[in-house]
Amino acid sequence: MITLLIGAMFIMLIILTIAINTTTKTANSIVLFFGYGLISTVLYFLFSAPDVALTEAVIGSGLSAVVLFITYLKINKQKKGVNDES
């Protein structure tokens, strides 16, 4: 039962990576990146590595996604106001 669940999660990881690479909107791929971090957190925990799971939850799906979002917002803004420079 638990092996089936783990296999389903791995397949979801494959689907998520394909989706992250193929979505045309950058914001969508950042949101999918959150989901990738969450699923891999559960997988690390199930493989009895709580240290790595905590790191993944904090850094992978928390901090880096927020930093990516901030960067995305700033670059979008820069594109809109790009007429005044170069």
């Binding site: 783990i6 791995f10 950058t26 709580p50 820069q78």
Partner: protein, 239 residues
């Protein structure tokens, strides 16, 4: 970035191929996983009980058996933050994000902020007893400050001076502990304090103190990094 994705489909195909091969190999490995086999992990687990007295074996690997690598990691993080700050400081193009005042967000984050900081301090102090440690706790503290920046915008700002003093003191203390053990026992970053009882808070000698300094340094660095990312400078923004 988007046009690059459309222009090079080969890149996508290579990425899918690598990810699926890795996933399939992990699935195949599921049946063959055995904890504490007769590899180096089992040896470290055996050594752990009578050399370091840490309840969490991962911490004793990070802060005792491989503490020189931890020093390298801290240096890498410091260099990364230094580079990012130099790059953002020089680049005039990025604009500030527009903030909309939201009282609900402010009140909620005011309630959550001390709890998050307390949880981060707990994770740092109990690094040698439970999962977690300096790196994770430091990033949790920094994420508390990140929420504060998001809610308050320009009203909340940490002074660079205090944060950099905290960071340099903790970095120097890490190396001083290592040098003291080099003077005493001829081992760099060894154990110089009494070991104490396992599963007590004051156990495992200087491992707990090394991880405390790592946590302080990481939290200061990541907080300053987020501050650089969120707000560039005052006065120049085109809002």
């Amino acid at each position: 970035m988007m046009s690059l994705k459309k222009d090079i489909p080969l890149y996508n195909i290579v990425v899918y191929f690598i990810v699926s091969v890795m996933t399939i190999s992990l699935l195949l490995l599921l049946g063959y996983l055995e904890p504490t086999s007769n590899s180096i992990g089992g040896e470290i687990l055996k050594l752990n009980t009578h050399t370091t007295q840490t309840a969490n074996a991962v911490t004793s690997v990070v802060a005792y058996f491989r503490s020189l690598d931890t020093l390298g990691e801290i240096t890498i993080l410091f260099t990364a933050v230094f580079g990012v700050s130099l790059m953002i400081e020089k680049n005039q193009k990025f604009k500030n994000i527009l903030y909309h005042e939201n009282n609900l967000l402010k009140i909620g984050i005011d309630i959550l902020f001390p709890l998050i900081i307390l949880f981060g301090i707990y994770i740092i102090l109990h690094g040698h007893l439970s999962p977690g440690g300096g790196f994770q706790g430091g990033v949790i503290i920094a994420s508390g400050f990140l929420l504060k920046f998001l809610a308050y915008g320009d009203d909340f700002e940490l002074s660079h001076k205090i944060v950099s003093i905290l960071e340099s003191i903790s970095g120097v203390a890490f190396i001083v502990l290592g040098l003291l053990s080099l003077l005493a026992f001829d081992i760099f970053l060894g154990n110089i304090l009494p070991l104490g009882d396992i599963t007590k808070l004051f156990s495992s000698g200087s491992i707990a103190f090394l991880y405390l300094f790592v946590g302080l340094k990481v939290s200061a660095e990541i907080t300053i990094l987020i501050q650089y990312f969120i707000k560039i400078r005052k006065g120049e923004n085109g809002n």
